[in-house]
Symmetry: C3
Subunit: 190 residues, 3 copies
């Protein structure tokens, strides 16, 4: 039997990893298993096993056509995984040339997710967290910029919903109240 394919997204600093880990732990206790896949790492593994790249930095410099084929192959491979799968990626990535779709049409058509989760929090919370997080070097962005990115993610998620028929679930991580947001995520995933 095919399991559920759930894609989980959130802007940097939203607390996605913490919420996901907590939710997966709770689900495991309930007897619900998920295979966790990071889309970027997965694509890198495909590229390395195909001898297209040797190290991760080379991933950014790939020709657009090569990158597209890699994305598609990664999507196909993920579609083959049996059981429930939780795919960690971005709804969109902020680059110097603008917002880039995390899930372009050719990836979506392969994965055909059941649910795409947007983990969101107050723009202000993200700002504070990014400013105080010493462990990771994150881009410094202002309040409006984060709000714009979260809004863009909602818009592109709507396009993803049209293309695949998946549901778009917004999970709010307010004031980083971990218990509440991970409980919400458990409800979506179980």
């Amino acid at each position: 039997m095919m399991g559920k394919k759930v894609i989980i997204t959130g802007v940097p600093g939203v607390g996605k990893t913490t919420v996901v880990n907590k939710a997966l732990k709770t689900l495991k206790e309930m007897g619900v298993e998920y295979t966790s896949i990071n889309f970027g790492s997965f694509m890198f593994d495909v590229a390395r096993s195909d001898d297209i790249v040797q190290d991760r930095d080379q991933m950014r410099t790939l020709d657009r056509g090569v990158q597209k084929r890699l994305q598609q192959r990664a999507g196909q491979a993920i579609a083959q995984v049996t059981g429930n799968v939780l795919i960690d990626t971005h709804a969109s990535v902020k680059t110097p040339k603008g917002y880039l779709a995390g899930l372009p049409e050719w990836v979506l058509r392969e994965i055909m997710p059941d649910i795409i989760v947007l983990v969101e929090t107050d723009n202000d919370q993200i700002l504070m967290r990014r400013l105080t997080d010493e462990t990771r070097s994150r881009d410094k962005e202002g309040y409006n910029s984060i709000a714009e990115h979260q809004q863009f993610n909602r818009s592109i998620a709507a396009a993803y919903a049209m293309m695949t028929g998946c549901t778009i679930r917004i999970v709010t991580n307010p004031d980083f109240l971990l218990e509440r947001s991970s409980a919400e995520l458990v409800e979506v995933l179980r």
Copy 2:
């Protein structure tokens, strides 16, 4: 001659039915006829005539693949209807697993609508109407939640416009001033 295919949408409590009925009455007086189709009922009729379901409750429990084929068949049948057609459905449906596209790509490609109308009103008006409407049991939702849903509908409507080349017309139903919003709709439909 092929008529116009117009899809009309609005979140629960927006007053869509009232606006539509008033507009259709005015149009009839002007000599403009529309066949009214409710997409959900139409799909149920297809499912029942194919012996896939016996009653409406079973529609919710269908396998995703079966549902997709049903949606597509309903879309094909609607595309065959001659003359002007007004299709009543939702831009997106709010479910426990998140927002679900009312018009996924495989339905849009069959219907290829000319116009999609979003009937909107103040979030606060919807809230008040839902709280006071005793005749229908509607989900109780807060102000922010309704605003989020209306915003999501605008986003997904933009994706529909890209896919089909239809226009997206926002008709505002302010303070339930029926005359004004139905007059706006008449302008769109005639």
Copy 3:
């Protein structure tokens, strides 16, 4: 070698033409050349050379199927242009029947742009500019209406990003500070 395909959009009155001209001048001084194409004019040239229309007014009255083929042919021709191309069009056009996609799916699939730029400014600035611009007869629109249009453009741009894998770059033209916004555009185009 194929150059970059960049599409530049903005609501009427945003100051797009001025920003673009300034940016192209700077780029030329840097040795970066772009062929400028206006999508509407380009489509008209295709239609005239095919004897479909004689003058520009006829473009608005074309049958939907004819218009679709013309758009697609124009997209194909633009895809053939070598070197860097800057395509001037609208993310969406406001019509009496609602917002119309400037770049429907069948055009996007031909052009497959690298970047779509949204030139934006404060809604209030646009309003002031439209009210004071005597040289062009622009539609009179209120503040909310311009805000709604700019928001719709962001949403539909997200759908474009999903379909093509292009980036969506929002370039702000604040208080018509030409230097700053054209410098931002130079960064995107060079």
